[in-house]
Symmetry: C2
């Protein structure tokens, strides 16, 4: 396979992959493009490679920066801005996990805390099932929360060697 074709496939699949993970297609495609670009590139480069508008590039690159997955680079003597992505995949994963935990898991756990305190007769099976369900989800959620927290702080080697230890 030629590089140009491989690039196309990588970008397009990374985009589709992203959509399953709450990241929009274009944002994921820009990210893919940055990942495989040896040097920083401009917004115009992205427009051309991905056939998308200037506004679209601009909005999505901003979002990538918010997520900590890309950075703006000013090259001396260059008028245009350049962009590059974090290439260390482990770091990328950690940043995504951190961001999504903050946006999704943490608020959910807060809500569950509130809901568990529902008033009513615990003998009533509707109340009982509700409280049990919420409690069980919370228990697992809390565990996931701790696990992710530690993972976010972890070194890659540390992570892999520990996982191998358990999951032989």
């Amino acid at each position: 396979m030629k590089l140009s074709e491989a690039k196309q496939q990588f970008i397009s699949n990374w985009g589709a992959f992203g959509t399953h993970w709450g990241i929009n297609r274009t944002m994921a495609q820009i990210h893919a493009l940055l990942l495989i670009s040896p040097d920083p590139i401009t917004q115009d480069d992205m427009m051309e490679e991905l056939n998308i508008s200037r506004g679209n590039v601009n909005m999505n690159i901003r979002e990538l920066i918010n997520w900590g997955l890309a950075e703006r680079i000013i090259l001396p003597g260059e008028r245009k801005e350049f962009f590059s992505a974090e290439k260390d995949i482990w770091l990328v994963v950690k940043r995504i996990v951190k961001e999504r935990k903050k946006r999704e898991l943490d608020p959910m756990l807060q809500l569950l805390d509130k809901l568990e305190a529902v008033e009513g007769d615990k003998k009533d099976k509707h109340v009982k099932t509700f409280v049990e369900t919420v409690g069980n989800i919370k228990k697992l959620g809390k565990q996931a929360d701790k696990t992710l927290d530690t993972m976010i702080k972890a070194e890659e080697n540390w992570f892999i060697s520990n996982m191998l230890k358990i999951f032989k």
Copy 2:
């Protein structure tokens, strides 16, 4: 908080949560409703509780069954079909992980294998960066794959005690 209000909040938030995870809002809401229902319920119950159409209920309940998260229950002497959800949250998580791994991670790893074999001079920095990036993603992906496989087979107690061991 009253049970009715708590139910509403749980359902609505579980729905919003689902949308971040590639599950559509209604499917997640039906799932939430089933989770907190002590006894199996009918499609009509769902239509009423969630204010959605018969067709919508039907399509989404089918999808839940595909995912292994709900089951159809025939009660003797009842004309209508009833439905209930798996209440063991750990099992629910494992089923979701299994399904998404099959749908997303496995195909991605297959693709990366193909892409890593791109032809071209490895001295060319474009080729070099591409191969390295793909290789790094593959490496982490393979590790995740193994980890998830083991998790899918794991007992909850086994999982939690192991996690606690590592992530004190």
